[in-house]
Amino acid sequence: MPRTSFDISISQLKVNLLDYGARVERVIGESMESLKTRDRALAEAIIQNDALLNETRYELEDQCYTLLATQSPMAHDLRDIISILMVAIELERIADHAKNIAEITIYMGNEPLLKPLIDLPRMAELCQLMLTRALDSFAKQDADEAKAVAAMDDEIDNLYKQVFRELMSYIVEDPRTVTRAMNLLFAGHNLERIGDCITNIAERVVYAVTGRLEELNVQRQI
């Protein structure tokens, strides 16, 4: 016996979440683009747009609370709604990290880049791919895929370590580069955090599908 209107509400909530996820995925790419091309107008637009992304998160949250309060969801329904709630929060956090990168673009002004960006854009691309696959695994209720997504975080962490070492060598060689190096390091740090947020999303997918709360990618020391 289906619960028609409730089932429609949950499906709609999932669609809303996936739409939100697609918008957040785009903003990761845009923030890196703004840094790479020193496009301050784009960076400004990202910062403006962040308020809208925050609003969407509250809307999603509100929809989840309404279903929790009025429908008394149990078992898989309960896990789905709780996961949507948690994923929405992670997505907003990811958007904040992207906004931080846009802020770095503005902060750097016209100062030339310390070095051509190679690893940072690679990190951003990986984050985008990871997020797309994580959301896909939620749509398909595929816990194995979610675990595979979480494992991709290692690659992001390795790139971050590489960026870290490289920038440190610049600073050691010429301490006057410290500000410029730190700006890029902050950008890398934000991307590394995005990878962690996506790992959290993957954990929520595993919970929704299996009912098991498990840490997927235990943080290693940097």
């Binding site: 289906p2 149990m74 078992a75 898989h76 329904d77 309960l78 709360l213 498990e214 020391q221």
Partner: protein, 276 residues
């Protein structure tokens, strides 16, 4: 780091293990027949001491039949018979030489509709003890007060103990019936849909009372209200009707597991409101 990892690993296991408790009653392959018709089939279920066990399932799945088997209520129905094993503290409840009256004293019951006797509040409560030969006024006074306090009703009725119990509200009447069940100092209290005739406020009062009583009594509750089972019980047993119309138990687990991650698809469908 390694140590923390080990600790994290143990958490899910710890949560999935039932808190240590003693099994107060145990049904093993318990079947109940009404004549040739088998109403419940081979139910195996532990009832944990001083915990609340809820029995849930769609209408007609044999929840009440199972509950009634627990204090031998079926003895009163012609043609009804029970097969299998049922124990209280490890001792069989069915068998030659068992005193049925004593079984029903140790295992009390509260019914769906409040059913106070058409007597005063006091006499409702003194009725059971008097049957068991307690006649001293001071002792009865003490028992009445203790039971009313136990059922969280004392403050509301202390000044009208000699008024008719029928003048109480439905919720108060039901708490009176719980108090009455407590007067004979049972070990287990069976509750068959104890709140289905009550409004939400009275329902919450009974549920709070159940959580209180849980400290001293073992409680088994049959309920159609899944939220109630989720709110009050520690363990939940899920029953279903088989194609031959006999009720069977399909899943038993900690209540939090039944309502967040049930293992049987039929339980999932039932608790999510997609069946029954």
């Amino acid at each position: 780091m390694m140590q923390m990892q080990a600790k994290l690993d143990t958490i899910p296991a710890a949560l999935s293990v039932a808190p240590a408790s003693i099994v107060k009653m145990q049904a093993e392959k318990l079947s109940v027949y009404y004549g040739a018709f088998r109403a419940i089939a081979e139910v195996t279920l532990p009832i944990h001491d001083r915990h609340i066990t809820a029995i849930i399932g769609p209408s007609g799945c044999g929840k009440s039949t199972l509950l009634r088997a627990f204090n031998r209520m079926h003895d009163l129905i012609p043609n009804a018979r029970v097969e299998g094993k049922l124990t209280l503290d490890g001792e069989p409840l069915y068998g030659p030489g068992i005193d049925v009256v004593d079984v029903r004293r140790r295992i009390g019951m509260v019914f769906q509709r409040p059913n106070p006797f058409p007597k005063s509040i006091y006499d409702n409560l003194a009725y059971g003890p008097r049957l068991y030969g307690v006649n001293k006024k001071a002792t009865l006074d003490d028992l009445v007060e203790k039971s009313l306090r136990g059922a969280a009703l004392w403050d509301e009725v202390r000044d009208k103990l000699h008024q008719s119990a029928l003048a109480l509200s439905g919720g108060q009447q039901q708490r009176l019936c719980i108090a009455r069940a407590l007067t004979v100092e049972p070990e287990v209290v069976l509750m068959d849909e104890p709140c289905s005739a009550l409004d939400p406020v009275a329902t919450i009062k009974i549920e709070d009372l159940m959580r209180e009583l849980r400290n001293n009594y073992t409680i088994v509750i049959v309920t159609h209200n899944m939220q109630q089972a989720a709110r009050v019980s520690d363990y939940t047993a899920m029953m279903m009707m088989r194609p031959d119309r006999a009720g069977e138990m399909i899943e038993f687990d900690l209540t939090r597991t039944i309502f967040t991650n049930p293992q049987d698809k039929r339980t999932e469908d039932y608790v999510t409101g997609r069946f029954g």
